[in-house]
Symmetry: C2
Subunit: 327 residues, 2 copies
């Protein structure tokens, strides 16, 4: 900047003013802009954030061991949704992957070090180091997903229990007698909530034997889960898969077993991701508004950064059923 000021024959203060839009004469402005272009000057963000106390950057963190970046079709959409509104607010979204404990430790340092003005955090827990540092620092943050122990912090999510109950009821309404579930990720709230909803829908008809548990929302695990279901209940005629990817796996197993879908067995999924349309037949499923989740979360942090009061309670988004041909 010193160079620019000298080249333009003005003081550094004036240069700063044209950069930030203050009072400056047209003549000086022109000279300075020419000088800027000439010396190829770029302002130093570190210095700027030091004095401004803000970076115009917002962190996007998926706090999940071994980044399910690769697995979960929703994450990407959430990211893009968040980025859209952050971008509109001229905030740079920086996404931080936490693939190991060491990463988590470094990310917390990054957050607390003042590199970002706020953060969006996907799938966190209250006892997480990241959640802790956020609350401790009072960093403007919004969470996506709502683990039971996170109440009190601003979040946006969906009602997994209710969605699961609704789609199960709809499945039952197609006349199924023996309906089971491939339940995934029971250690996460999304997974256990979906099972809860399924159970609620069935009421007395619920049969624990008809629940196949798998660790993750994965295609291959879904195929395996369906195999187990078929073993314990060859007469099964309805299946609620905990996600579309899981449902796709189930479909594969059913085809291999010679069962027709939806004639012999009805299958429903969850997410309404690209899997749903890619399946044969296309899946009936719960629409999860992933991009909207990201948008709302971003709007939250933007408001928080602007000084707004954190909302008293979380935001729950609608999850309409989309009925296709698999049930």
């Amino acid at each position: 900047m010193h160079d620019v000021a000298r080249a333009a024959g003005v003081s550094r203060g004036t240069v700063s003013r044209v950069l930030n839009g203050g009072y400056v004469s047209p003549a000086a402005r022109d000279a300075i802009q020419a000088a800027i272009a000439h010396v190829g000057y770029v302002p130093n963000n570190a210095a700027r954030s030091l004095v401004m106390q803000r970076t115009k950057a917002v962190g996007f963190i998926v706090h999940e061991p071994h980044a399910l970046f690769l697995e979960d079709p929703n994450i990407g959409s959430i990211m893009l949704g968040a980025n859209a509104v952050l971008s509109e607010a001229d905030l740079q979204m920086v996404s931080l992957v936490t693939d190991s404990d060491r990463d988590i430790e470094r990310v917390t340092r990054y957050l607390s070090g003042g590199f970002v003005d706020g953060a969006i955090i996907v799938s966190a827990r209250a006892q997480d180091p990241i959640t802790k540092v956020v609350t401790k620092l009072g960093l403007p943050a919004a969470f996506v997903g709502h683990p039971p122990d996170l109440r009190g912090l601003p979040f946006v999510g969906i009602d997994n229990v209710r969605s699961a109950r609704e789609i199960t009821e709809r499945l039952v309404a197609t006349g199924r007698r023996r309906v089971g579930m491939i339940a995934a990720a029971l250690d996460r709230d999304s997974g256990s909530d979906r099972l809860t909803g399924f159970r609620a829908a069935l009421g007395d008809a619920f049969d624990p034997a008809l629940v196949a548990e798998i660790p993750l929302y994965e295609f291959s695990a879904g195929a395996e889960g369906m195999r187990r279901l078929l073993d314990v209940a060859p007469d099964i005629d309805g299946v609620f898969a905990a996600s579309d990817a899981v449902a796709a796996g189930a479909l594969r197993t059913l085809r291999e077993a010679g069962r027709r879908v939806p004639e012999d067995v009805g299958v429903v999924g969850f997410d309404d991701s690209s899997w749903a349309l890619r399946c044969q037949p296309p899946l009936s499923t719960v629409h999860q508004p992933a991009p909207l989740l990201g948008q709302r979360a971003a709007e939250l942090v933007v408001a928080l950064i602007a000084g707004a009061e954190p909302p008293r309670e979380g935001i729950l988004l609608d999850t309409p059923l989309v009925w296709r041909e698999s049930a």
Copy 2:
């Protein structure tokens, strides 16, 4: 920090020394650490980078309009590979998504503003704003993929021409007479190179009519491409799909058309992504070492940041064929 110094009864300089590991008496050290814990002090990165002239952060940029984060199964693996080595070097990887022209402009500002010490850039072009700013600033950077116009800049990639030629030759060697290609993303070097390799493998037997062009590496586009191939050449008995996702789409079309794979027509893909094993039958394909790509690129920037000379030429990684049951 002022608070810490006062609470511990020392000067700020001494506090800084225990943080960075300098000579300091055990007594003072203990007092300071206690004070740090007590006031909940966290160092300010902005101030630190301002004086240190480094941030210990590296940008990871996928420079592709409308982030193919969602589409490309490789990106995630490249990211994780890169993060692994950056993490090892205690560097924070921050990934920047460019989903619009506005994003691109903001990301260039972010890069030039000194928020990162280096960058890894996936699928860039020489005339890109991002590439330009990188070269102009002399920012330590490594590119993944090697568009023809990028020579001179450090990169790591694979030999698409050769890989495509090899797998096509292998496909022909299974006795196929009429082999076609579903060529995707011909506007990108990866896409056009794979077509070039395919053509080279076939030599005189190459028939332009047997090339179906699709815009992106997508399942549904693959299904559509296969449909077109079947129209122009019902007797087709071999297909090279430009990616596994494309091949998966082709498989769907073939099944719908009543063709058996590999009996009636042999199909091969590219990437060796999760699609390959998910297909029925599992795909023969070209293994693309995505995580390694990320690792090597990260190693490059780490070396560059440490002051190493940029390598004279790019690094090309091996792409072994993996032969399964689809051909």
